[in-house]
């Protein structure tokens, strides 16, 4: 519980109507996509950077934990108020401040929804490529804090590759700017990159300066069905060796295809044990050639069938297959643990075989799909929580999958972050020294541990 005095001070800072301690509001800001629930003491909706700074000054002085929140759509609990305190909902800061077509730079507030920003820049012929699956509802602030990825990252890179500068409120209540609207800048440490993926533990993002690209003229989508996962994986390497970097290279394994087939009227022959959805973009005359070239490159690798979309409706139909995966999985099994390991892309087939072995050994269903182009595999451990022993098996499987990915030179999270869900496993990936180096930064910047405490690192 926070004292009446603190609540009054919060009301003075942001306005009474933007501070709530009503139980209904606390419930509404208690969860995220991990489905875990922690009630905060108060929900605050700031409207300006200065309000955020004043609030942090107060929170730091009074040692009240603060949990910044965008859309609450994270998969690792980054926004969960695990220690009560203040949920700082950033949704009111949702202006696109400027789109500068001369310099290919935009400035936005953190509460702007990713897709709405993409639509706005595309209207003036510009392009913001990062496309996390949640782009229709996740915010840019959350995307930066978690360094979100997405299918297009294979060609264009992840969120941090598009962030030129930030305005942040520090855990002690200062307002600072990192980077700026220039393409180059080497004065001082690269705090912009440090903030990207810091999961809201080092500062609260209040403004984002974003690099844009010219919008490609056209894109072309194709679906390639393979007789084996090896064929699909070899195809990925072969395409890249062929000096083509597609915009997206999404794959689905046999178990995923089976799930989708069971849940929808997917028209894919039984002989297809893996598939790739490949998209290329660029000049109109170029992409037709690229699509043909890709089709030729992959043909010897056990291709069952290749479908190239000729219209945008056909392209949409191909993407619909990929989009139907999540719902289909749940129809087959009620509970899903969605991990997002990443391995060097040449190691994808080996990783899939490891996962298949883990699945067979533990006798639980694991399906794999994801971004084959950059080795980022969504490993979905499917169980029914209600059946005894299943949860334990899932936990064992997840640990084995992480170890497997690390042994191949990979990482346990390509895009979801650590939050609270993966912190129990952080020792597998980070040495004690590396963790200590990071924690030293956290302690120096947030001496009272008030900003998003309990995230990333194990509580010692």
């Amino acid at each position: 519980m926070l004292s009446e005095k603190i609540i009054k001070q919060l009301q003075r800072i942001v306005g009474a109507e933007y501070v709530s301690t009503a139980k209904a509001d606390l419930i509404c800001y208690s969860y995220d996509a991990t489905q875990q629930q922690y009630l905060p003491n108060v929900v605050v909706h700031p409207g300006r950077t200065e309000e955020v700074a004043q609030l942090m000054l107060l929170a730091n002085a009074e040692k009240i934990p603060v949990f910044p929140r965008g859309s609450g759509s994270g998969f690792t609990g980054g926004s969960l108020p695990i220690a009560g305190g203040i949920v700082l909902a950033m949704t009111r800061l949702d202006r696109i401040v400027e789109i500068d077509a001369d310099n290919l730079v935009a400035t936005v507030e953190p509460g702007v929804v990713t897709e709405q920003f993409q639509k706005a820049v595309e209207k003036v012929g510009l392009f913001y490529p990062p496309d996390p699956a949640s782009l229709k509802f996740s915010t840019l602030g959350g995307n930066v804090a978690e360094c979100a990825g997405g299918p297009r990252c294979v060609k264009y890179g992840v969120t941090k590759d598009f962030i030129l500068g930030l305005e942040i409120v520090t855990p002690t209540g200062d307002i600072i700017r990192t980077g700026g609207p220039t393409m180059k800048g080497v004065v001082g440490y690269d705090l912009t990159k440090l903030m990207c993926g810091s999961e809201g533990t080092l500062g609260i993002i209040t403004k984002i300066i974003i690099k844009l690209l010219p919008l490609p003229e056209a894109k072309k989508t194709m679906l390639v069905l393979f007789a084996s996962i090896d064929g699909a994986a070899q195809a990925v390497s072969a395409i890249i060796r062929g000096k083509i970097i597609p915009t997206t290279l999404e794959f689905m394994d046999a178990a995923t295809i089976a799930c989708v087939r069971q849940a929808t009227d997917l028209d894919v022959p039984e002989s297809a044990k893996a598939l790739l959805i490949i998209e290329v973009d660029g000049d109109r005359e170029m992409i037709d050639k690229q699509a043909q070239k890709i089709a030729a490159i992959v043909q010897p690798l056990g291709v069952v069938e290749t479908r190239i979309a000729e219209t945008s409706a056909e392209s949409e139909a191909l993407w619909q297959i990929r989009r139907s995966v999540s719902a289909s999985l749940r129809k087959v099994n009620p509970d899903k643990f969605n991990e997002d390991i990443c391995v060097p892309r040449s190691k994808v087939p080996e990783m899939i075989r490891k996962v298949e072995a883990i699945s067979a050994e533990l006798g639980i269903s694991i399906v794999n799909f994801g971004h084959a182009g950059d080795g980022n595999i969504h490993v979905n451990v499917m169980i029914d929580r209600k059946r005894p022993g299943q949860l334990e098996k899932a936990e064992r499987a997840i640990e084995a999958v992480f170890k497997g990915a690390l042994a191949l030179g990979g990482t346990m999270s390509g895009e979801h972050g650590v939050g609270i869900m993966k912190s129990p496993y952080i020792n597998l990936e980070l040495s004690a020294e590396a963790q200590s180096y990071m924690e030293t930064i956290k302690k120096a910047l947030d001496p009272n541990n008030v900003l998003n405490p309990g995230k990333i690192f194990l509580q010692r």
Partner: protein, 424 residues
């Protein structure tokens, strides 16, 4: 007849919400207010907390539960198909069960079952004025949607028909031999506010030789009562309509109101197998007209020399049932129409039954967005397939200071058919 499901019977559906947040992209109420309590995910968490006894019926809880248009947009986009509209409606009934109906909902409940009051009002009134409604707190099904004491003075309201549609016509209007027979469920909007839409529907069916039955015993579909949490009224109206609409054998029951279509076709499914002859037989008028080959007949007409630009607004209660192509097909085939698609034609207009009464400010914000898309489309008319949407769209356009008119597609269809007659 089975009863409407209680909130505790939705536990399984509630558990299916995985809190992914996808509904935030599709909820019109959330789009206007950006508060988690407005969106499906928040409401499901609250319904769950209510069932577990973790939250009381505090003001914020009631506000959040009232902030839902029951448009079904979230359900249609939910990866787990969680029926949030049904869960919210069940929560409203649960609130009514625990605390009794609100004064407003009581008014709704009392009135819906007594259509004679609305007829009386229509005959004596002519113009629907706020004042008149204030004097007559116990009026009709319409009052459920637009109860006077809550009506904002700046709301644009259509005139009330001096003679309700159903009183103007016999119960049966014979068509050509060997052609289908349909029952016409008028709904309150057409019966009292837009009788000309009903007239247009009869013209269209006459044109293709269809026999029309207008069952006299029909009442309100009950959707406003669903929205108000007045479960018993819904059940009572459903029983009344079942009797009225299945008394005469027909090939199908047509509606020209998206909400009525959802009321009869979807809500009534909860009442069990005895309602199947009704629910399975409900058809939107344009689905029926397309099946009957009207598109081809219209396409054969000579294009008018002077055409107007018309865009289409998808009523939520049709879009979420997958009915999007047929109304457009008819519109595009009309000889006097140049069809243009507006951006986000499928987003809610902001009416949401009783929603716009409680939350006119939010409804206006939602409507303003829509008005912007209508303006950008360059259309002179925005056509749709729901009297409620027509009212809200016209209000939104007026508030934006724009010139477009909101019309029912049937009105445009009648215009085209009259042209044909004059040519002859």
């Amino acid at each position: 007849m089975k009863k409407l499901k209680r909130l505790d019977e939705y536990q399984e559906e509630i558990a299916q919400c995985v809190k992914c947040g996808a509904c935030r992209a599709h909820c019109p109420a959330f789009g206007a207010e950006k508060h988690e309590g407005r969106v499906a995910r928040g409401k499901i968490a609250l319904a769950d907390a209510l069932l577990k006894g973790e939250v009381d019926l505090e003001d914020k809880f009631l506000l959040d539960m009232s902030q839902c248009l029951l448009c079904g947009s979230c359900c249609a986009q939910c990866p787990n198909n969680v029926p949030t509209d049904e869960i919210v409606a069940a929560t409203r009934r649960e609130i009514a069960r625990r605390r009794g109906l609100s004064t407003f909902a009581k008014g709704v409940a009392g009135i819906l079952s007594r259509p004679e009051l609305m007829n009386l009002l229509a005959k004596s009134g002519g113009k629907l004025s706020t004042l008149l409604f204030k004097k007559l707190p116990q009026s009709s099904g319409l009052r459920l949607r637009f109860p006077a004491p809550f009506i904002s003075a700046d709301r644009t309201l259509p005139s009330l028909a001096s003679t309700p549609f159903r009183e103007r016509y016999p119960e049966k209007i014979a068509g050509a031999a060997g052609r289908p027979t349909v029952a016409f469920f008028t709904g309150c909007g057409i019966n009292y506010m837009y009788p000309e839409v009903g007239v247009a529907l009869l013209k269209a069916l006459q044109f293709i030789g269809v026999t029309v039955v207008i069952p006299a015993g029909q009442g309100c579909c009950g959707l406003p009562a669903v929205s108000a949490g007045a479960g018993e009224v819904v059940e009572q109206l459903a029983e009344q309509n079942l009797k009225a609409l299945t008394a005469t054998p027909v090939d199908c029951i047509v509606t020209a109101c998206a909400s009525c279509h959802a009321g009869l076709g979807k809500v009534y499914q909860d009442f069990g197998a005895e309602f199947a002859p009704l629910t399975a037989n409900v058809k939107d008028i344009f689905v029926f007209l397309v099946e009957q080959g009207l598109v081809e007949k219209l396409a054969a007409l000579p294009k008018a020399a002077k055409r107007m630009k018309v865009t289409y607004h998808d009523p939520c209660h049709l879009r979420t049932q997958g009915i999007t192509k047929e109304p457009r097909a008819i519109l595009k085939a009309l000889p006097q129409v140049d069809y243009v698609e507006m951006e986000d034609a499928g987003t809610c207009c902001g009416l949401g039954g009783t929603y716009s009464v409680y939350h006119y400010d939010t409804a206006k914000k939602i409507g303003a967005k829509k008005a912007g898309f209508i303006e950008e489309s360059g259309a002179a008319l925005v056509a749709t397939d729901c009297p409620g949407c027509i009212m809200q769209l016209q209000d939104a356009v007026n508030h934006a200071g724009q010139q477009q008119r909101a019309v029912h597609i049937l009105s445009l269809l009648m215009e085209a058919l009259e042209e044909v007659r004059e040519d002859k």
